[in-house]
């Protein structure tokens, strides 16, 4: 094969689409993104002085987030391979080389775990706080917990919100970085090019074996 043909084949291989996220996983990501932004806006804008009736939007969006997170936990445990999100020594070594050894880089795994813990704390405390809200399904019971315990619930919920602000800012920034454009496209359209994948990952073929089984 001559040089031109080799170059053409190489260019074609570089542009090959590597599937990364199934449609249902992308939908989950964007539903959670919109939910978290709505929850942060409805809770923190009034703190900043923008007054409006935020409580109903906030708890209804919280229910949406709870449903999405439950879906993700079940799907990740039974339809996907949770170990692809496990942080291992080789992830740290690969990060020092500026690469990822698996489907997700060390930074992506750490961000997932940090946001996961924060969202679960917010959900757990938020579920408790639902008892203080009058809804079509139940009457409020502000005496469910003692005032001291409510204080701890509110502190944890507020702390989760503040940490979410910081991490969401960082997550959006890295998602918009030019060198991460492939990841952003993958979360919208489901794929990144082989060239983009190999720029960051040492192995890409096993993505179709580890992770989403479509």
């Amino acid at each position: 094969m001559n040089d031109e043909a080799l170059e053409a084949r190489s260019a074609e291989a570089a542009g090959e689409r590597i599937p990364r996220h199934a449609a249902v996983d992308r939908a989950f990501h964007w539903i959670v993104a919109v939910s978290v932004l709505t929850l942060l806006a409805t809770s923190l804008l009034p703190v900043a002085g923008v007054k409006f009736s935020w409580v109903t939007i906030h708890w209804v969006t919280g229910i949406v987030l709870i449903a999405a997170v439950l879906f993700h936990i079940v799907r990740a445990l039974f339809w996907q391979k949770p170990r692809c999100m496990a942080v291992r020594g080789r992830d740290v070594k690969a990060a020092m080389r500026g690469a990822a050894t698996g489907k997700y880089s060390l930074a992506q795994k750490l961000m997932h775990h940090a946001l996961g813990v924060i969202v679960l704390v917010a959900i757990g405390t938020g579920i408790a706080m639902l008892a203080k809200v009058d809804t079509p399904f139940w009457e409020r019971d502000p005496y469910l917990l003692s005032s001291g315990t409510w204080g701890i619930v509110y502190v944890l919920h507020g702390l989760a919100a503040l940490l979410a602000v910081t991490l969401v800012m960082i997550h959006v920034y890295f998602g918009l970085r030019p060198e991460n454009r492939g990841y952003l496209r993958a979360m919208v359209r489901g794929w990144m090019t082989r060239e983009e994948a190999l720029a960051k990952h040492e192995h890409v073929e096993h993505w179709t074996k580890v992770g989403a089984r479509r």
Partner: protein, 52 residues
């Protein structure tokens, strides 16, 4: 700067109300600091962060 919001109940006892919202600008500032630091780091380092 306060870390917690505290009030007194009907019996005069201190009651924890929640986290202090004075910390909201701190949370935003930390996010901005990380973003600016990384942007400067990448601008100086260029594309050497990618695999060859």
């Amino acid at each position: 700067m306060e870390f917690f919001r505290v009030s007194r109940d009907a019996w005069g006892q201190e009651t924890l109300e929640g986290i202090s919202w004075d910390l909201l600008p701190v949370a935003i500032a930390i996010g901005v600091a990380v973003i600016v630091a990384h942007a400067i780091y990448r601008a100086i380092r260029g594309n050497r962060g990618s695999r060859k």
